[in-house]
């Protein structure tokens, strides 16, 4: 359950579990053979357990500005999967290799509230996998080429001062398709991000660190038109589905996550799972992802603008 205690300006989430000690914690969701056949059979016939077709997403809810202390934040719910992303901007020094680019760091944390197994260091492996996959999809190659986020817009004084963006995501509830939800939450958080304007004192020589004055009043909204969305296609049996629940994911043979931007270009690709895929299947998956990305992108854009408009209304009233 979630408790929002407005009177105390603290936001705390609380989760619960009761374990019956056998040989270590027993996962509460264990599927019987009959259930497994049911799920597989449903997918074969294009009717999944919750009634969706293979290429339908679950209902998506977006809320922005949930963490007032951060420069930008968003909470995204896809069915029962819920994630929060926050963007914090700090001034730093650009790297010597790319003096004209700012820096972005993406970090994912899996909360124990989502799964008891994420307690302590249990969720570290999954967190690392998700962080790297997100960086691959959104930040382009090591040279920074092809990044979904324009790093040159983060520069303040070339070679000396740049903005460092720390994108932190928290998985609060896990019911499959974490990567898509995280990608959507980062896109929404960036749309909500306001980076303060910096005035540099002009009289600074080439070697000195210039004086900076961070404005409290003026802000620049981040340009998210190039940020891609991530579509994960999970192969179960002979078909692949989009937006798998954790039940469906437990039967997957392989999954391919493809990030596609507004122009329909593929920005990153990650394949998980042990089963090999025929190359023609992969090409087919990419074209399906490109088609689905248009729908998901327009849906996210409308949700994000609705969420931002709500904040605007709240501020005016």
């Amino acid at each position: 359950m979630r408790l929002q205690n407005y009177g105390f300006r603290n936001f705390v989430g609380c989760g619960f579990g009761i374990l019956l000690p056998m040989s270590g914690p027993v996962k509460m969701v264990g599927l019987s053979l009959g259930e497994k056949h049911f799920i597989k059979g449903g997918i074969d016939q294009n009717i999944r357990s919750d009634g969706r077709k293979r290429d339908y997403y679950r209902p998506i809810f977006v809320e922005t500005g949930v963490i007032p202390q951060a420069n930008g934040s968003a909470r995204v719910r896809m069915g029962a999967t819920e994630v929060i992303a926050s963007v914090k901007a700090e001034l730093g020094k650009p790297s010597a290799l790319h003096p004209d680019k700012g820096k972005v760091v993406i970090f994912v944390d899996c909360s124990a509230v989502a799964e008891p197994t994420f307690e302590g260091r249990g969720g570290e492996e999954l967190s690392a996998e998700l962080s790297v996959a997100l960086e691959r999809c959104l930040l382009g190659g090591t040279s920074g080429a092809g990044a979904g986020i324009d790093l040159t817009s983060l520069i303040v004084a070339e070679g000396k001062i740049c903005w460092d963006l720390y994108i932190d995501s928290l998985v609060i509830s896990s019911d499959g398709n974490l990567l898509d939800a995280l990608g959507a939450s980062i896109k929404a958080a960036l749309a909500n991000t306001a980076i303060p304007k910096v005035n540099i004192s002009a009289a600074a020589s080439a070697d000195e660190q210039p004086e900076v004055d961070i404005s409290d009043e003026e802000f620049l909204q981040f340009d998210t038109s190039a940020v891609p969305v991530i579509i994960t296609l999970t192969q179960v049996g002979r078909h692949y589905i989009v937006d798998a629940t954790s039940e469906e994911e437990s039967h997957m043979s392989s999954a391919v996550s493809i990030s596609v931007n507004r122009k329909g270009h593929v920005c990153g690709l990650t394949k998980r799972g042990g089963e090999g895929l025929d190359p023609s299947v992969v090409s087919d998956m990419i074209s399906v992802a490109q088609h689905l990305s248009e729908l998901l992108m327009s849906r996210l854009d409308s949700e994000i603008s609705a969420a931002e408009a709500e904040i605007g209304d709240d501020e005016e009233s």
Binding site: M1, L3, N5, G7, F8, R9, N10, F11, V12, G13, C14, G15, F16, G17, I18, L19, L20, P21, V66, I67, P68, Q69, A70, S73, I84, S86, K88, E90, F107, D109, S111, A112, V113, P116, E119, G120, R121, Y166, D168, L170, I172
Partner: protein
């Protein structure tokens, strides 16, 4: 505590000293209150995720844990409520936020069982004159009683909703 919960970004969301200490405090407070003998051979896990910290974090965690336990139907001796108070400018203050907390005055956290009228948790840092301690602690206890009333209202409302959904 989440990475983004504090003003300056934290490096390690888990396993840092502050989180471990708060976890210990919550566990000890709750252990005293839950009727564990009614649930033999079972383990109760309480996971608290702090999304934003602005003073009084451990109080919020304890209050949230109480509500979650009540929501789960775990039998307890009483609702555990918690509140913090401080002393700045010769005035006792209830529920300090982060700025007031960092102003250098004392920070007293009290965990209270309202029905049994007992203090289960008492923590204080910094200095406080001995004759003022009683006042500041009493203020925090009043805060706890107010929270307890509010928690009880919320739980009653929740139960009414459940009854309604069951068609009673």
């Amino acid at each position: 505590m989440a990475n983004f919960s504090t003003g300056d970004r934290k490096r390690k969301p888990k396993g840092d000293r502050r989180s471990t200490e708060i976890s210990l405090v919550i566990r000890q407070t709750m252990e005293a209150c839950i009727l564990t003998h009614l649930m033999p051979r079972s383990q109760i896990d309480i996971y608290v995720q702090v999304l934003q910290a602005d003073g009084g974090t451990r109080s919020a965690c304890i209050n949230a844990a109480t509500l979650a336990l009540a929501d789960a139907g775990i039998p307890m001796r009483d609702l555990v409520t918690s509140c913090s108070s401080g002393y700045l400018n010769s005035t006792p203050l209830l529920d300090l936020n982060y700025l007031e907390d960092s102003a250098g005055g004392p920070d007293v956290t009290v965990g209270f069982l309202p029905k049994l009228d007992r203090v289960t948790l008492l923590q204080m840092d910094a200095k406080l004159p001995v004759d003022i301690v009683e006042n500041v602690m009493q203020l925090a206890i009043e805060g706890c009683k107010a929270i307890a009333t509010y928690i009880r209202e919320v739980l009653l409302e929740n139960t009414k909703q459940l009854e309604y959904r069951r068609g009673l």
